[in-house]
Symmetry: C2
Subunit: 471 residues, 2 copies
Amino acid sequence: MLSTAIKEKLIQIVGNQNFQDSKASQLVYSFDATPQFQTLPDAIVSPHNTGEISEIVKICNEYKIPIVPRGSGTNLSAGTTPVEGGIVLLFKHMNQILEIDEENLTITTQPGVITLDLMNRVEAKGLFYPPDPSSMKISQIGGNINENSGGLRGLKYGVTRDYVMGLEIVMPNGDIIRTGGKLAKDVAGYDLTRLFVGSEGTLGIITEATLKLLPMPKAKKTILALYEDLDAAAQTVSKIIANRIIPITLEFLDQKTIQAVEDFAKIGLPTDVKAVLLIEQDGEPETVEKDIEKIAELCKQNHAVEVKIAASEEEADALRTARRSALSALARLKPTTILEDATVPRSEIAKMVSAINQIAEKYDVEICTFGHAGDGNLHPTCLTDVRNEEEIERVEKAFEEIFKKAVELGGTITGEHGVGAMKAPYLHLKLGEAGIAAMYGIKQAFDQNNIMNPGKIFTKSTRKRVVVSES
Amino acid sequence: MLSTAIKEKLIQIVGNQNFQDSKASQLVYSFDATPQFQTLPDAIVSPHNTGEISEIVKICNEYKIPIVPRGSGTNLSAGTTPVEGGIVLLFKHMNQILEIDEENLTITTQPGVITLDLMNRVEAKGLFYPPDPSSMKISQIGGNINENSGGLRGLKYGVTRDYVMGLEIVMPNGDIIRTGGKLAKDVAGYDLTRLFVGSEGTLGIITEATLKLLPMPKAKKTILALYEDLDAAAQTVSKIIANRIIPITLEFLDQKTIQAVEDFAKIGLPTDVKAVLLIEQDGEPETVEKDIEKIAELCKQNHAVEVKIAASEEEADALRTARRSALSALARLKPTTILEDATVPRSEIAKMVSAINQIAEKYDVEICTFGHAGDGNLHPTCLTDVRNEEEIERVEKAFEEIFKKAVELGGTITGEHGVGAMKAPYLHLKLGEAGIAAMYGIKQAFDQNNIMNPGKIFTKSTRKRVVVSES
């Protein structure tokens, strides 16, 4: 609990109405989108600007009070849960787009802007911000940067990291630094910009960002390919790339996911096939036309039982929306849905999907798989019930085996969800102790008092799905 | 000087023929491509593999012996000069391409491979490694990674950093770590991969890299646009981007550079115009055709006095080669050529070029300017004579003013050459003391004994163009 003196100091900075510590507000910010992971903060603070954040950080650093910067809390790794109490920092007053620079093709924004709003604003000018995490309708851009969010367009356009050109950061000692800029090239020292992208709020607080924009592609087309056989779908993915075509999107859904999505979205998806690929290409109209024809041909050559090219943008949009609803659709089926994001090199997709199925069988748990096949980023999703402790134990074991298999295939324990509190016990699988030691060295160098989002990335405790702390 | 005991330990690791400490060999590795910057190493060591490097590093860490990893020494910031003595580490035995993976579109390579050889090897398979530093014919890929090298294609394709997917690194304590992988998405902890790219050998030794490849674009076209007026050329650059066209290359040469290049390359460049833009586009044939037509139109609208589209690939190649020879051409004119790379946002190119000309006049020094206008990365190049101490002092003052101006315009002190020893005294202009402190924190966390390429990035000594140390 915060002392009265500290509470007063914080109120002096942000004003009475921007400091909350009622039980009700503590509960609201005690969890994020991660199932069944709950810990209470001491208070919620909503500063107006970078200067206020710097003052707050200085106080927290002096009194060793944890700070959890939080966007909309859509992350799935318990990355924004206040596991050691302290204050949750909100960006509701720092939600302005500061500039769209059409000459340098950049946007400069505060962290609290909703991702989709940012996309719409740049698209209105014929520009394009590609990273599209599934939560983009509610996620904040600051959260995307802290998590290095991915999305459906990662195959062709990369992830959030590839679009962050410069940052303003409040360091854990309260110092304000600026990294990068509107610069395609900048080698003045270490790349702090990309170090902070994906650092999950553990190294400092991002208070402003300059992002790279692209010209909006002129055309887009969408294909749905249906398969009776998982391997054939995975083969198609490899063949498309081997033919030197990089589609914008190359999504995979297994039968159970298709059934759940169709049940939910009712857009006429076939529910009797074993796998579906949703493929999109964008670019110049002629190129898109050529690529889509070639892709359709490759799907057929690789034993797709049916290939449908979306006839209109409405039809394409319905397919995309259906794909984006996969998690919501699955979440309706059982009380608890655990979505993971083991990722492998693209060539290993078939092996990984069949390993997931074998592991699910071995531990007698229900796992559906969908995800970004083009970039090897799969979302094995377990339908379970957290109240069934015995089953949850089997689920945990199954996921541990899935992570080990992913790393064995040259992959990683998390492609786009982050480590947070949930994946921390598995980090050594990917990095080894020496790799973790190197990262921890950076954490200690920046944040001696461990105030920035403590208990994330480096914690070694075994993961617990139900925690209620009153720290 | 190394003690006999240490010398014997190193010889035991690499063998007699891979340890050199004769005066002659010390002299060979006492400088890099940076003019007039020379310091002697104690020895030159050429290991065969990562294991040997780890053993060498452990000894150096124990006895606090500086290690300077060195590719072909083509850098221009004195980044590979052994300013504190110690050993220079060569990669001549680690010069193999380990794998080209056509399914995942990656190449895995040892650091000692020549950049152009690597490019040719992937192009033979219809693939494309875009970063093309001017020194690519002799530079090593490991050096490119350590320096985050840029090149002419940066505008559309980015820089070396954008292609490094995974690294094997020997840390300053001898630990071997692996970062990233053949993974489009990986958020397992901090982004060590990009932290090491551009860290100039100060954080560890890169012993293997996995790089991203693209499908080879099918077509390419080249335009030369001539201007009587600098501003018109700069305006054209902005207008092309504002028209949502991102060319692969958008190079600028001022009159003095054109004259020197034509004198050197004799390909019939006009020497009576004030500025030239060399513009290239690649992609699908139809798109290239359309873009090039539009670009030619924009050049004319913005007062180009002549616009030539290269009639053949041979003609285009001659133009590219001429541009790449700019430094060599200028270097023939005076005993000393100092090439800098102040970089600004693309929109500020006109202001920066005219500021450079004003500053050159103010200090009565001869500065030619060419560079990558599309990404704001200019190369103001001073033709001088290092034996004329009074002039060199004016040159130094002029460059300091140029760096300050670049930062004032939202730019940086170095776009692609690195900080090394030469730019260290100016780093604070871009980063401020708090930014440098953050970077130095990382350096200290990784390299407590400061053995990795010491005296680079963080040194505060004023720069000296003639140094001969016998440490």
